[in-house]
């Protein structure tokens, strides 16, 4: 992988922030966008912009072809069986809410269980909290090991015949833990429960094959994988999507409309009420082309290298705590003793280094870690070991700086 050539595809990286070359280490929050994606959006708006699935004019056909072409591309990318199983949404949150509203709220009853983990991002937790409240179902948590992993044994002992839904993240956005989804799905299915997977931190960084994982629903966002904001995907097995109710009603999703009754379009359109996210889908298509040309396996290997290097470098810093397991995805979450992560992030920003500080939309996990907030550096295909050296230097200076003033 030629990182310099890759970096040249990301114009935003070539700038100074606060007088220093930008080091962008916040890709788990959102990734930067390469030229092919920026150009795909521009060319769509310059040449083909039109509404889809209606009218007979040429621009309308072009836009429709491009939009549905993007769906086809996503289908191949994640290994779905057909485009009927690929629903475009606003992002991971909307995708999970579609399952919570369109499926869970209709089928769950008192006595049923929803199984989640304490490492869930709020987007794969609150929809289930609310669904449990609404239906009287019980929310159950799978216990976590001290290193921030969860054993299959724990899943086995938590999931029961009363469990109807298992909602779990593929990769933790805080700990970097990679959960064994295929095995968890098998346990869920032994009990006739469905598995809903939050793939926001996995799809951008590794090869994901939803059919092979045998998950019932799988959600992810375009903006974390070099695509634009406002586009995401809900993959669902056709048999479940067919049984589900739409959650948004209006234009685009209808078949026949009467004064008092209406019927819905076929999959996947019955879940895409209103003018869809046309440009977003086209941008996502370009992002997938870009990532696959480099190779998902290469990207994953590169990030694992960076994560291992970051762990080594950061361990050299006295008084720095790293959270999460040794085997992890491309991110590292940490705190410097006695320095609040906001303060750490402000010192790093003064040197042009962007990291995330806060609770990372995972408040229950912060409680489990017994901390109010952490700092997180997350990597992507355009990051280098030099970026991590800059991070380590910055952290040493933050320590010095706050050591001095105290």
């Amino acid at each position: 992988m030629d990182i310099q050539a890759i970096r040249e595809q990301f114009p935003i990286l070539d700038q100074e922030v606060n007088g220093h070359p930008l080091v962008y280490l916040d890709s788990a929050a959102t990734s930067q966008k390469p030229l092919p994606v920026i150009e795909a959006l521009e060319s769509y708006y310059r040449q083909n912009n039109s509404n889809v699935h209606r009218g007979v004019h040429t621009l309308g056909s072009r836009a429709t072809d491009q939009y549905e072409g993007a769906r086809e591309r996503v289908k191949d990318f994640i290994g779905a069986r057909s485009t009927e199983e690929v629903i475009f949404t606003r992002g991971t949150t909307t995708a999970i809410n579609t399952v919570a509203y369109g499926y869970a709220r209709h089928v769950l009853q008192e006595g049923d269980e929803i199984v989640v983990t304490e490492m869930e991002h709020h987007s794969n937790l609150i929809p289930w909290q609310q669904a449990a409240k609404y239906t009287g179902a019980t929310l159950k948590y799978v216990p976590m090991e001290e290193d921030g992993t969860i054993t299959l044994e724990s899943f086995r002992s938590t999931i029961t015949n009363a469990t109807k839904i298992v909602a779990v993240t593929h990769v933790s956005n805080v700990l970097g833990t990679v959960n064994p989804i295929k095995e968890i799905a098998a346990i869920a299915h032994e009990h006739d429960a469905l598995i809903v997977v939050d793939g926001a931190q996995s799809v951008p960084h590794m090869k994901v094959d939803v059919a092979n994982l045998d998950c019932d629903f799988y959600a992810f966002s375009g903006h974390k994988m070099c695509g634009p904001t406002g586009i995401g995907v809900l993959y669902g097995k056709k048999e479940w999507l067919e049984k589900m109710e739409p959650v948004e009603f209006g234009g685009e999703m209808i078949d026949f409309v009467g004064l008092y009754e209406s019927t819905w379009k076929d999959l996947p359109w019955k879940f895409e009420g209103g003018t869809p996210i046309i440009a977003g889908a086209i941008g996502l298509h370009a992002a997938i082309d870009f990532l696959e040309e480099i190779g998902m396996d290469q990207i994953e290997a590169h990030e694992r290298d960076l994560a291992a290097y970051a762990q080594t470098k950061l361990k050299e810093i006295d008084g720095l705590t790293i959270y999460g397991p040794k085997q992890r995805s491309g991110l590292v979450t940490f705190n410097i003793d006695g320095v609040h992560p906001h303060d750490t992030a402000t010192v790093l920003d003064a040197e042009g280094t962007a990291v995330r500080a806060g609770h990372h939309c995972a408040q229950p996990l912060m409680k489990w870690l017994d901390t109010a907030a952490t700092a997180r550096a997350s990597f992507y295909l355009y990051n280098t070991k030099e970026d991590i050296d800059r991070l380590a230097e910055g952290l040493n200076r933050a320590k010095e700086y706050f050591g001095d003033v105290f």
């Binding site: 906001h342 003064a350 609770h359 912060m366 109010a372 700086y401 003033v405």
Partner: protein, 148 residues
């Protein structure tokens, strides 16, 4: 930006309040308690106010957060203690102005240590840290008025 710019944010007096917070603790049941947090970052304050006859008799806080949020809470409690409610609210609006980078008219009221937080206005991402305690105070004073 260099570390000199950082020094405009992290003034000595701020660090002193962070390291040695004034009025940390809680008050008895007679007081008003306000819990406030900054949901985007996890800063949290539990403010206790004792207001009698329109005067803030005592103010204490518990909580966790960054140097800016905790030092601001420490300074705020120090500043409003002994002030009448009207003055406390005036200070709060002066503080908001200061965070917006506006010139403040402080002929009547001396903000004292609090002026050290002026540099925060140059760090937009940190303004919410600084205003958390003041927001809690405003809410506490309002709820006390409702009760009486």
């Amino acid at each position: 930006m260099s570390f000199n710019n950082l020094d405009t944010l992290y003034r000595q007096v701020i660090m002193d309040h962070y390291k040695n917070p004034r009025n940390r603790g809680s008050l008895d049941d007679e007081s008003v308690t306000i819990d406030m947090n900054n949901p985007t970052c996890g800063d949290r304050i539990e403010l206790h106010l004792q207001v009698e006859d329109g005067v803030v008799q005592d103010a204490k806080f518990e909580g966790e957060g960054c140097s800016i949020s905790m030092s601001s809470a420490s300074m705020m409690t120090q500043a409003v203690k002994g002030k009448d409610v009207e003055q406390a609210l005036k200070m709060s609006s002066m503080f908001s102005d200061m965070m917006l980078g506006n010139e403040i008219d402080n002929e009547d009221i001396d903000l004292g240590d609090i002026e050290a937080l002026q540099g925060v206005s140059k760090f937009p991402a940190r303004i919410k840290c600084a205003t958390l305690a003041w927001k809690a105070m405003e809410k506490g004073v309002a709820s006390d008025e409702e009760q009486s």
